[in-house]
């Protein structure tokens, strides 16, 4: 397993190739093949590594590749420690699972992208694949990093790639705005994350996940009785980071806007992998979080509220990708709910199944958008199942999976979460269950609006629709095989991925939970006492949630297939709510009015302050100096110099008489000399 550092490196090399050489000289096909090949190699290596991990007894393998930050002494809470971060990667069950998800789904999405991005100009294709590979590079570093800081490298790196890919169509103002927004909002989260990292070092004297976990395990659990201690603060700061990356309240606003990016990007980054990084990070620090139960409550609360809020917004969105985006936010809320109630394995499990069905749904929507010639408004679609049966079938599978209908994958992971939540707090479970019903409703609303009913889109062969693509559009059509094939693969995953986590209540063994457990505890820790099994409760909950999901689906069917006008009636009847929801609770407006314009106006104010006061002081000093110089000048000219001139004047006036003698004629002087000589000689000779 010593080769795991190669797994991120290969996509990195792919990105470098495409970025340095490809943009100028690769053909579209070559660029795609290079990137996809790199991902395929990474996937193969991941599989090999995973198999080896399954075979090894210790299930923890750390590889130090090189020194990054060499040891420098630094004070910690326990005296002088040593700040040191090597380039080290860890393979354990959690990172192994993520590795497969990232490389596997990443590979499928790369393949899909070859077909999807084909309309772009040549250089643009290479640029796209460069970013995509770079993203995988950073994502794999994030997953494999064995210390906080190495993870942070990937963490920020994926943020950069997300920025670049959201703004891929950089000529569109909305796209570049969305990219910028994503980066900056993520940075706010990173602010918390990096401070959490500093506090981790200060507290534990190391940044290695395993070492921190072991050290933390020795500390007391900070319950309400113990008080809000340093571990709680660490967890809170880390969680701020997670809310940024994983789009939770209050930092979720960037994700819906991120849908400006190409659809494969939305599938890979904003559904399957990057946005789950926050969940992954919390799971990675399960030991820390279990020592901070108060923060866990916060996590759970934020998770469930985000899930509910995003689901309600998702109910009324008409842009196919935005529905999916809010659905993603909502599902991420589920995952945080799971971590908040201590069900880390369930969160990771849901992370994996979600990766399959959400990537599937996004790619399916991409296929639809492709077929509709870049139309994203579901009100202008309809009846597409006749035109694109394969997309329809696979998307239906995705929708059923996310709705939680057995035996598809979403059912197992979601019910595991709901069950564990119920054990923790029935109130949270109630909110979660409502969300589940809404999820089923809006997903099937999407399916019905898109694939059922009458075709409401533009007429085929609209001349003006060739915008930049250079070919006329012949009406909705099934996508090329390069795009549908990954859909099928993902659909298979969405159906079967759940079977690794069949709960005991249904006769399974919950394999994945046992597999992942070593990542959530410290070595040698006593196995958590198996929670008492309440199979009856679990069965009841399952039945209830399946009923809810079915109800949601039926409601959607009634409103969008049987009586399409019913939805509009409902909207008019609840006009206020509807407006609130379509405007996404006005959160963007709120942020614009407070944070954005607040910092902009303080920026302008400070600029004026800088020019007026700070620089004014400087210029004022300059002015004062010059003013005093003027005064000195006047003083000097009329007083000091006046005295000097007075002396000169006196001399001049007094010297008029003497001046007569100074004729300046040398002969006069010589004559005077001669006379003088005669006088002296005469005196000398005669006078004595």
């Amino acid at each position: 397993m010593d080769f795991i550092w190669l797994i991120p490196l290969i996509p990195g090399i792919g990105a470098a190739l495409n970025g340095l050489v490809g943009v100028r000289s690769f053909s579209k096909r070559t660029a795609g093949l290079v990137a996809t090949g790199a991902m395929a190699a990474a996937f193969l290596l991941s599989v090999v590594a995973f198999v080896q991990l399954l075979g090894s007894a210790e299930r923890y393998h750390k590889v130090t590749v090189a020194s990054w930050i060499p040891p420098i002494p630094l004070e910690t809470a326990n005296g002088i420690g040593s700040f040191e971060v090597p380039w080290a990667f860890t393979l354990d069950p959690l990172s192994g699972m993520m590795l497969l998800v990232v490389t596997g789904i990443g590979l499928l999405i790369h393949i899909y992208s070859i077909g999807y991005i084909d309309h772009e100009p040549r250089g643009g294709v290479a640029r796209f694949f460069c970013y995509l590979n770079l993203f995988c590079f950073f994502m794999l570093i994030l997953v494999l990093g064995s210390s906080f800081l190495v993870m942070f490298v990937g963490w920020e790196g994926v943020g950069l790639c997300s920025y670049l890919l959201i703004g891929y169509w950089y000529k569109k103002k909305s796209a570049s705005d969305a990219g910028k927004k994503a980066f900056i909002v993520n940075r706010i989260g990173d602010w918390g994350f990096i401070l959490g990292i500093f506090l981790v070092f200060f507290t534990f004297g190391t940044l290695d996940f395993r070492e921190v976990a072991v050290a933390a395990a020795a500390l007391p659990v900070e319950t309400a009785a113990v008080g809000f201690g340093v571990i709680s603060l660490i967890c809170l700061l880390l969680f701020i980071g997670a809310t940024g990356k994983s789009a939770q309240i209050p930092l979720y606003v960037w994700l819906p806007d991120a849908m400006e990016g190409p659809t494969p990007v939305s599938a890979l980054i904003h559904a399957a992998t990057m946005v789950t990084a926050g969940v992954y990070m919390v799971c990675r620090n399960a030991v820390l979080f279990t020592h901070a139960p108060m923060v866990m409550e916060v996590v759970a609360a934020i998770g469930v509220v985000t899930a509910l809020m995003a689901a309600t917004i998702g109910l009324v969105q008409t842009d196919i990708k935005r529905v999916l985006a809010y659905s993603t936010v909502s599902q991420l809320g589920y995952m945080f709910l799971a971590t908040g109630v201590g069900a880390f394995a369930a969160a990771a499990f849901h992370l994996m199944t979600h990766a399959f069905f959400k990537a599937l749904l996004f790619l399916g929507s991409g296929s639809v958008i492709h077929a509709m010639n870049e139309e994203q408004d579901m009100r202008r679609m309809g009846g597409l199942r006749r035109h694109m049966p394969l997309t329809f079938a696979t998307m239906c599978i995705g929708a059923v999976a996310i709705a939680g209908i057995p035996p598809l994958s979403g059912f197992f992971s979601k019910d595991e979460i709901l069950y564990r939540t119920f054990l923790h707090s029935p109130l949270l479970w109630g909110l979660g269950a409502v969300t589940a019903a809404m999820t089923a409703f809006y997903m099937f609303r999407l399916i019905y609006m898109t694939f059922f009913g009458e075709y409401r889109g533009p007429a085929p062969d609209a001349e003006g629709h060739g915008d930049g693509h250079g070919h006329a559009w012949h009406g909705p059509h099934e996508s090329p095989r390069l795009m549908t094939w990954p859909l099928v693969a993902l659909a298979v995953g969405a159906v079967f991925a759940g079977f690794v986590g069949v709960p005991a209540a249904l006769g399974g063994s919950n394999m994945i939970e046992h597999f992942l457990e070593p990542s959530f505890t410290v070595p040698g820790a006593a196995h958590a006492a198996e929670a008492a099994h309440h199979y009856e409760v679990e069965w009841a909950l399952m039945a209830f949630s399946v009923l809810l999901a079915a109800g949601g689906i039926l409601f959607a069917y009634r409103n969008y297939v049987q009586r399409p006008e019913a939805a509009d009636e409902l909207a008019t009847r609840l006009a206020g709510t509807h407006r609130l929801l379509t405007n996404k609770y006005y959160v963007d407006e709120l942020y614009d009015a407070t944070v954005v314009s607040g910092s902009m106006s303080s920026a302008r104010g400070l600029w004026r302050f800088d020019g007026g006061v700070v620089d004014g002081a400087v210029n004022g000093t300059g002015w004062a100096t010059r003013a005093s110089a003027m005064i000195s000048h006047v003083l000097d000219k009329y007083v000091v110099d006046g005295l000097v001139n007075l002396v000169g004047w006196i001399c001049r006036e007094g010297s008029y008489g003497f001046r007569r003698a100074q004729t300046g004629l040398i002969q006069n002087y010589a004559f005077a000399t001669l006379v003088g000589v005669f006088a002296f000689v005469t005196w000398f000779l005669v006078g004595r």
């Binding site: 970025g19 210790e58 923890y60 130090t64 090189a66 990054w68 930050i69 060499p70 040891p71 420098i72 002494p73 630094l74 004070e75 005296g79 002088i80 420690g81 040593s82 700040f83 090597p86 080290a88 490298v153 990937g154 963490w155 790196g157 950069l160 920025y163 703004g167 950089y170 000529k171 103002k173 570049s176 990219g179 910028k180 980066f183 900056i184 940075r187 706010i188 990173d190 602010w191 990096i194 401070l195 500093f198 506090l199 070092f201 534990f204 004297g205 395993r210 070492e211 072991v214 070595p523 910092s599 902009m600 303080s602 920026a603 400070l606 600029w607 800088d610 700070v614 002081a617 400087v618």
Partner: protein, 534 residues
Amino acid sequence: MSNAAEFPLLSLILFTPLAGVLVLLFVNRQSEHLIRLISNVTVGVGFLVSLPLWFMYDTQDAGWQFVERHAWIPSIGADYFLGVDGFSVLLILLTTLMGVIAVLSSWTAITVRVKEYYVFLLALQTGMLGAFMALDFLLFFLFWEVMLVPMYFLIGIWGSDNRLYSAIKFFLFTLVGSVVMLLGILAVYFYHHSVTGVYTFDVTQFHELGIPYDLQWWIFLAFFLGFAVKVPMFPFHTWLPDAHTDAPTAGSVILAAVLLKMGTYGFIRFSLPILPEATVAFVPVVAALSIVGIVYGALVAMAQKDWKRLVAYSSVSHMGMVMLGMFALTPVGITGSIVQQLNHGISTGALFLIVGIVYERRHTRAIAEYGGLSKVMPVYAAIFLVMTMSSIGLPTLNGFIGEVLILQGIFVVSKFWAFVAASGIVLGAAYMLWLYQRTMFGNVDNPKNESLPDLSLREIWTFVPLLILAVWIGLYPKPFLDRLETSVDNVMERVNNDYTPRLAAVAGDGADDPAVALDTAAQADGGPVRGGAR
């Protein structure tokens, strides 16, 4: 003091640019091509002769290296005394490299008074190198003042619209600071005489002085004024945006990359070790000013409409970060501070080059004049992107290493400071990305931008070394950090006794360190790296 009585490498480095000046004096002012060629060759040679410093510097030797000492003004005890430690080695290399880049970048930008321009640029080079090498305080002061003159003319003659105002402001501002600093120097000088009876400007002697606290306080204030103006720290920064905005590109590059480092160099070389107690006493003041500078510089940058002025204010923010790390008075903080100085030289230097390139093509710096340049200048946009990321501290690029070390270093001293200072990361991303969006993204709305040529080969080459350095420091900063180890130790020994038993601390790793007791497997993996260098 090793390497004594060897080949006078430092003098060679120091006077190579001056030799170029001498040659230029004999060249006809009409043959501009020849002048450019000679100047480029001179700085190229200057960089090559400075390279041995990198390889021959002994990271284990805590003393001054490559020392040269000759009597200069014996009557007052001033010597021609040169010597370097790891810190100055890195700054000298940065100076010679930025010299190459600055001269190369001026090839087409300067068309009037070419000869004088290059003479000033080369003379400036000698002044800066001398300041980084001098171990005699008077000699340092001489070079410090020598730098001012060429820069004054560079801004005043080859600058843009408001150049005279900016040049004079730059000159006077710095001069005021340095006069006060001179008083401080003389105070140390006379105090040293009163204690030892010897008149000397020998900095190494000063490093061992124990000046009484009251006197230290005043001397610190004097030094502080001199150095803080140069850094520049809030509220002494207002000369910087003006000087940067109006300076020619190469001037801005040198100003940002090297000249600003004079201030921080002065703090680490003189203020901290000579005045340790006063330094500790001033930590809250300096830290507060630094933090204000970080946030303030970033916010003001956000409001700028002038591309170059925006980068200039970002300098204020970054240098605030540098000062903050330094006054953490922890090894990590000071190391980070020094690394960040290099980083700032690299990324901000590159950003000024980037502005200079479009300025040369369009003769305007207004951000609103640009937009959509990604389309017409893709290579340019790519380089700008990398340097933007470097500037806002993206991991795997250089800026991150500096910021993390600084913030971690300050965090253990005061969590509040770290909390506020870290917000600079968010604001930095905001103003840089907004700048990037406004200039690079969108459609090419301005017809004048439609046919801008992308970078020429020469222009690309001015960026290549900076790109390499950015990635190198980001991925593998160990060679740089190794060279700083003894320098930082020496400073720490004076200002913060907590870290004096450094060897013991690192080697023993402390039974009180909970992390070590664990996981021996992980230890064994990390072992060679951990134990090796020390």
